[in-house]
């Protein structure tokens, strides 16, 4: 057997397949199942990541036609630089999460059987890998549906809770609406490739070769953008995301937020840059506008959350927004033939996708650790955990710093590159774009500053201060597999932050292929330590120097100040002379975000109510008050409620849709696809 990315990948898929098939036989030995199952997924993921890395580093493209699929419609596989990159994104995080899962899923032992979790988890990873690999519309949609269906069941894992059932159903509806849009988009492209006469156009290769008339191209783009946006949780199609991600088991949330959203990004990049290829500037503007909208509104929602996992889920909306901003910029630059700039923007976006996978995975794993230890997701009932969970707290903090885009961690690098792309927008010679795009940069700055606020809140309320809330039982640090999984993610956050020039050099083939320009040469033109996207006179950033510089000053200061044996005396908190201090006397999560809630309140449906008890008492001597705060998504009422109501009605009519057997669901999907393909 020759050793190539293709063969490594095959091994990875075989492992996953083996796991799916053998898991039911291990049903009786749950503990063993967890250990073996997640070890297998870990190995499979690592193999996939390795294959991807190799592909990208080698700069080679592999294509394969599988003897599978429907008659006359064989599956096409293609492993190129873009696919390789996403294989790394998916595989790497799936590897970390799988190791984490070995420890995490043990928490369910004794509560419920985890066989389905293991099976669907493996299917989920396989689905994501296949999405990235598929080279025809048919396989793409099949794997897309595998991914969607397996996550549907994963969200439904703890199905006794009504919120899980609700979230899963909502997810299913949105995923399906999105899938149909994608299907239609492929339909248009495939149809035009062969003049609406046969099926031959269904391969991406055929689509690539076709030059679409501008109207049809726009329609295909809009449909694809809509479909992928629904998957990625782009505002206003985001509402399912903060419902579904938090209720899934945390290892699944980590994958859903960390990498499943990225498959949609992959889809957009694939369709726009690879399959369609040339496009007018307004496509990019559209992507940019929705990206900005998602970035700002997503993070504002995140700041408002009191539920730790919901906060993380909303921040994924923001990060997807940032990736879309870069892609939008790349599209605009590309449409004006500013190739190096397009390359810069595109790489910034993809880099951010990789970074987001790492830190969002890390943060969801951290949130999982907190829930594992405390059985509590509501931050108002958490606090002071830094003393009980020293490992988790440090790792979670690294995630928070990274996601707040602070140097020297990875989030900053990709956002900084995006800013640099923005700063180059004056080279466009369309006055209106020149004037408007900088405002986008300001919105991006707003969203990243808000992210810092959101994660100061997330870390500060959860881990610092005193324990809050009624249940103050003892908590323990989580087990080793969980710590190792998180630690590896944290280390990759640091490495991706400190060594950006190498990452960019590695990613350069993607830019070359999709935009026709490279930036690695100029980016490391000043030496590997300095990241200089254009030229070092223009802008430069050196994470290694910053990191080392801060470290040196901190150490020197510390040593100098400790030459004198100064004592540290521990004393009770300053209580203003009032001795009876309680844990109610510390800031709360809702309070932390109150100023932002006031300032940006017009974007939300904020409802506050103070009631005096007993009612009718003179205000000078009340007995107590009750306060209630509800912050709701305005989009919910405008957009979703009608759709949900309608689809509930439809599902009641269809009746058996909800019965929850995967086969039925898959058949249903296949039929839909085939009918639509025929129709097109």
């Amino acid at each position: 057997m020759n050793f190539s990315p293709g063969s490594i990948l095959s091994a990875s898929f075989l492992l996953l397949l083996f796991l799916v098939l053998s898991a039911p036989f291990l049903r009786a030995k749950q503990r063993l199942l967890i250990a073996i199952g997640f070890s297998i997924t870990a190995v499979a993921s690592l193999l996939a990541a390795f294959a991807g890395f190799w592909t990208l580093a080698g700069g080679v493209t592999y294509q394969l036609v599988l003897p599978l699929g429907l008659p006359d419609l064989p599956f096409h596989i293609r492993l190129d630089s873009l696919a390789g990159f996403f294989l790394v994104v998916i595989g790497l995080l799936a590897f970390f999460v799988s190791i984490y899962s070995i420890g995490y899923v043990k928490g369910f032992l004794g509560q419920r059987p985890v066989t389905s979790l293991v099976v669907f988890y493996a299917l989920f990873i396989a689905g994501m890998l296949l999405v990235v690999l598929s080279d025809d519309a048919f396989l793409f949609l099949v794997s897309w549906e595998i991914m969607a269906a397996s996550t549907y069941f994963l969200v439904l894992f703890e199905d006794e809770r009504p919120e899980n059932r609700r979230a899963a159903f909502l997810y299913l509806v949105v995923a399906h609406v999105g899938a149909i849009a994608i299907l239609l988009s492929f339909g248009i492209m495939a149809g035009l490739a062969t003049g609406f006469s046969g099926f031959e156009g269904y391969t991406f290769d055929a689509m690539r070769k076709t030059v679409l008339p501008s109207g049809w191209a726009a329609a295909a783009f809009l449909l694809a953008f809509f479909g992928f946006s629904a998957k990625a949780g782009v505002i206003p199609l985001h509402a399912w995301l903060p419902e579904a991600h938090p209720v899934a088991p945390s290892n699944v949330s980590a994958l859903m937020s960390g990498v499943m959203l990225k498959t949609a990004i992959y889809g957009i990049v694939r369709v726009v840059f690879d399959i369609i290829g040339s496009f007018p500037w307004w496509w990019g503007s559209l992507v940019l506008v929705f990206g900005l909208l998602s970035a700002v509104i997503g993070i504002l929602f995140a700041v408002m959350q009191q539920d730790l996992k919901k906060l993380l889920a909303y921040s994924s909306v923001k990060n997807i927004g940032i990736i879309l901003i870069s892609i939008g910029l790349a599209m605009i630059f590309s449409s004006y033939q500013l190739k190096p700039l397009a390359a810069l923007a595109l790489l910034a976006g993809l880099y951010h996708a990789l970074n987001h996978a790492m830190y969002k995975g890390l943060l969801f794993m951290g949130a999982g650790a907190v829930i594992h230890a405390t059985h509590e997701r509501n931050m108002e009932n958490l606090g002071g955990l830094i003393r009980f969970l020293p490992w988790t707290s440090v790792l979670f903090l690294i995630g928070c710093i990274s996601i707040s885009s602070l140097p020297p961690f990875n989030g900053f690098v990709s956002e900084w590159l995006t800013f640099q792309a923005f700063l180059l927008s004056p080279s466009l010679n369309t006055p209106i774009l020149k004037l408007l795009i900088p405002l986008g940069a300001a919105l991006l700055a707003l969203s990243s500053a808000l992210a810092a606020a959101a994660f100061v809140k997330a870390f500060g309320i959860t881990f610092l201060g005193h324990r809050r809330g009624p249940d103050q039982g003892r908590v323990h640090e989580v087990n080793w597999p969980m710590r190792i999984g998180m630690t590896m993610a944290a280390i990759s956050c640091l490495m991706l932050g400190v060594l950006p020039t190498y990452v960019i050099k590695w990613m350069d083939p993607i830019a070359e292929k999709l935009t026709g320009a490279t930036i690695a040469h100029s980016a490391s033109g000043f030496g590997w330590m300095w990241l200089t996207p254009i030229a070092h006179e223009r802008a430069s950033y050196s994470a290694p120097v910053a990191f080392a510089g801060i470290l040196v000053v901190v150490i020197v200061t510390y040593v100098l100040l400790h030459t004198r044996p100064g004592a540290i005396r521990r004393a009770p908190l300053w209580d203003c002379g009032f001795e009876k201090i309680t844990d109610r006397m510390q800031y709360t999560a809702a309070s932390f975000s109150m100023p932002l809630r006031r300032i940006f309140g017009f974007l939300f449906a904020v409802h506050e109510e103070v009631k005096q008890a007993p009612p009718g008492r003179h205000p000078a001597f009340p007995e107590s008050f009750t306060y209630q705060l509800r912050v709701r998504d305005r989009f919910w009422g405008w957009l979703y409620k009608p759709v949900i109501d309608a689809s509930f009605w439809v599902s009641r009519m269809v009746g058996r849709l909800q019965q929850g057997r995967i086969q039925v669901y898959l058949i249903y999907s296949f039929v839909t696809i085939i009918v639509l393909l025929l129709f097109v």
């Binding site: 903090l397 800013f419 300053w574 006397m585 800031y587």
Partner: protein, 314 residues
């Protein structure tokens, strides 16, 4: 005669460490005069730092490592930032470490940890300070970016050394975009350094504090580092303004004459900047916290107008 850049870098950091408290003392002095009071000595802040350094630390019982680590980090970040901003010369080995955007992010990491330290001990005041600080920071950030954008249009760069080079070579403050950007920068700097219309560094009222509320529980050497870093931050923002808008006098090629003349220019410009700062602080009351939105909104407006007027008028 050439002087080695590393030497200049060392000198610059030394200047930063010792000039910052003196500058704080000078601001205090001018302020006292403007209010008709007798001023404390110029060296009072230095003495304060020395006194704090020699005192023991009293730590809250539940303070975690974050609380103890933060002063060192804040100090370290600020010193590093001081090595990047051209104070007396543009030829600095550290200059390429960060452009303006990265510099802002360096300050942001100090703020991030200060806010966490405020929440670490779990008091109402600490959390309140953190919440306010993060709110104001998130409003200041877009304005700051717009100001950077406006300035970078003229110099085609976000690297500070490059900005100094371009602006000092004939580019004049008469340029509308720079004038607007300067206006925006002043407002942002007031907010970022916690000066009067936004925050009151001299207050003792816990309920109204922003920065002070976060660091209320610090003592001894920790407090000394925090205070010192705060003075340096003020100094650096003033110097940043000087570098970006009034760079004349900063040595652009490393000959001895230029470098020796640079401190004289610097002292003069700092002296004037302090007077300007005091005029603002004496003439204005602290604004209500939700008015800061409008304050920073107008900073954003100025910066945007600066950016627009670059395209429209230049």
């Amino acid at each position: 005669m050439k002087i080695h850049p590393f030497l200049i870098e060392m000198v610059q950091i030394a200047v930063l460490l010792f000039a910052a408290p003196l500058f704080a003392g000078w601001v205090k002095m001018v302020k006292c005069w403007s209010q008709g009071r007798t001023a404390p000595s110029l060296f009072q802040p230095v003495r304060d730092i020395r006194k704090l350094l020699s005192k023991d630390v009293v730590l809250a019982e539940n303070a975690s490592w974050i609380f103890r680590f933060t002063p060192y980090l804040v100090f370290g970040v600020t010193v590093l930032a001081g090595g990047i901003i051209p104070i007396i010369s543009t030829d600095l080995p550290l200059a390429a470490t960060a452009d303006v955007i990265a510099l802002v992010a360096l300050f942001a990491i100090a703020r991030f940890f200060t806010a966490l330290a405020g929440m670490d001990i779990g008091t109402a005041f600490g959390g309140m300070g953190s919440s306010r600080e993060m709110t104001i920071a998130s409003l200041a950030e877009p304005a700051m970016l717009m100001a950077i954008f406006a300035v970078s249009l003229a110099s085609k760069s976000t690297s500070l050394s490059q900005m100094v080079l371009v602006v000092s070579q004939g580019y004049s403050i008469l340029q509308p975009s720079l004038a607007f950007a300067l206006l925006a920068f002043i407002l942002i700097a007031l907010a970022e350094t916690g000066r009067v219309p936004v925050d009151n560094p001299a207050t003792h009222l816990e309920l109204t504090m922003i920065h002070e509320a976060m660091v209320l529980e610090y003592s001894g050497r920790h407090l000394a580092l925090i205070e010192w870093a705060k003075m340096m931050k003020l100094f650096l923002f003033v110097v940043l303004g000087i570098s970006a808008f009034f760079p004349w006098g900063i040595a652009v090629n490393d000959d001895l004459a230029g470098i020796l003349a640079a401190p004289a220019y610097l002292v003069m410009k700092l002296g004037l900047a302090a007077v300007g700062l005091v005029l603002i602080e004496t003439g204005l009351a602290k604004m209500r916290i939700f008015r800061v939105t409008e304050f920073l909104g107008s900073a954003f407006l100025f910066a945007t107008l600066g950016m627009l007027s670059f395209f429209i008028l230049e």
